[in-house]
């Protein structure tokens, strides 16, 4: 974790490190963190990445779906679970194999848009692609990020 920045470490919760720049803003948009203390560092100097974003979420360990969302928005981010001011678990986020309910299908004729049912996707890597479980529409990285629900 970058020690040279003026961010108070959290006691319990989640620290998200090594986010691509711009990802923190998107994560704030897609995760519902309104009831939590969140500290965000954007365009922070990083030896590994040049510039990066970091986030500290006090009192909240993220769910699998939330981690999948972050994985799609900022692949390669590191998740640190903090308990009693110690890192209890550290993991690098890879792409999930499938996601459900975190983004919309871009096909306006898809059943998920016609009947408002949660969209499910199979995720393929290199290059990142999401295939709709229902209508088989394929979405590239830009479409994935822009279709992640912001509500």
């Amino acid at each position: 974790m970058a020690k040279d920045i003026r961010i108070t470490p959290i006691k319990n919760g989640t620290a998200i490190d090594h986010l691509n720049t711009g990802s923190a803003y998107k994560i704030l948009e897609v995760l519902d963190l309104r009831d939590f203390t969140v500290t965000v560092g954007m365009n922070v100097e990083s030896r590994k990445m040049g510039k990066k974003d970091i986030m500290f979420i006090e009192g909240r360990e993220l769910s699998k779906n939330e981690l999948n969302t972050i994985a799609l928005v900022g692949k390669g981010a590191t998740i640190n679970i903090i308990r009693d001011a110690e890192i209890k678990n550290k993991s690098e986020l890879g792409y999930p194999e499938s996601v459900e309910g975190i983004m919309k299908c871009i096909n306006p004729k898809c059943i998920t848009n016609a009947e408002r049912i949660p969209a499910k996707f199979q995720i393929r890597k290199e290059p990142l692609e999401a295939k709709c479980f229902y209508c088989e529409m394929r979405m590239g990285e830009k479409e994935i990020i822009s279709s992640i629900k912001s509500d």
Binding site: C105, K109, C110, I111, T112, E115, F133, Y134, C135, E136
Partner: protein, 322 residues
Amino acid sequence: MKSAEKQNARKNTDFTDVISILDFTRPMIERVLGRAQQLENMPRPQKAKILENKVVASLFFEPSTRTRLSFETAAQNLGARIIGFSDANVTSTSKGETLSDTIHIIENYADIIVMRHFIEGAAKRAAEISKVPIVNAGDGANQHPTQTMLDLYTIRKEFGKIDGIKIALAGDLKYGRTVHSLMYALSQFDNVTVYLISPESLAMPRHIIEETRKKLKIFETANIEKYIKECDVLYATRIQKERFPDEVEYQKVRNAYVITPQIVAKGKPSLRIMPPLPRVNELSQALDGTPAALYFKQAANGIPVREALLSMLADAKKGTGG
């Protein structure tokens, strides 16, 4: 016969719905084609006992002639009773009923549901929630798996095999769902060569080429005559005017992919023409009745293939639905 027939069906059934050709492996496809051949040769009275006392629902939310009639004929040939509609305007859908609700109601009336819907993914959704098997008879521009099955059956019947076949797919390869599904299905077989013939603006989507390239030998051209000498099958699709941003572009290519006797004469004597009907202008009527014209036989093959699928689904065990 009844119990033997049922046992046979059970043994051969390893799918509980027919939604997308992507769900079918080669052994599954071969079992369907084998079953179709068996049914084609089965005496009618014997066949009529397979779905005796079963009800097949034929739900066509979108108009169709050949697909609906061939499904309904197939179901009747197997002895099933048919319920359904061919116009969603006469149903509660027009009052705003969701597909999920429609399926939850019909699943209590029927043993198998055949459906065509203009919404893409509708059949997949129906399969997810229905306690009875769903057969996708077309979901918008997405999938039409039984068309692909009958295309494969036609090739196998005509040439005795699918392995090693050389097939040209011509015309609108960008939007045509039948050619997309056929590419995926052919990639399950060995040594298949595919010639993709289209104007650049209607080329086969790259992702389909990339996904099938490992198994298929693929050649691309805009010239319909370039590989005609090599082909066993010429699968011609219609170029639709509405796919073009302007009239000039359409006029440039509209006649470039019309299959005429002159083009066919440049191919091998064994060349066969297989467009998914209905035809508009992509195929000269002068070819009707010639040995190359496989299209009416192709349409007729829809019956045994759909009989096969319905009979294999008759004893499919699904979960309780959702």
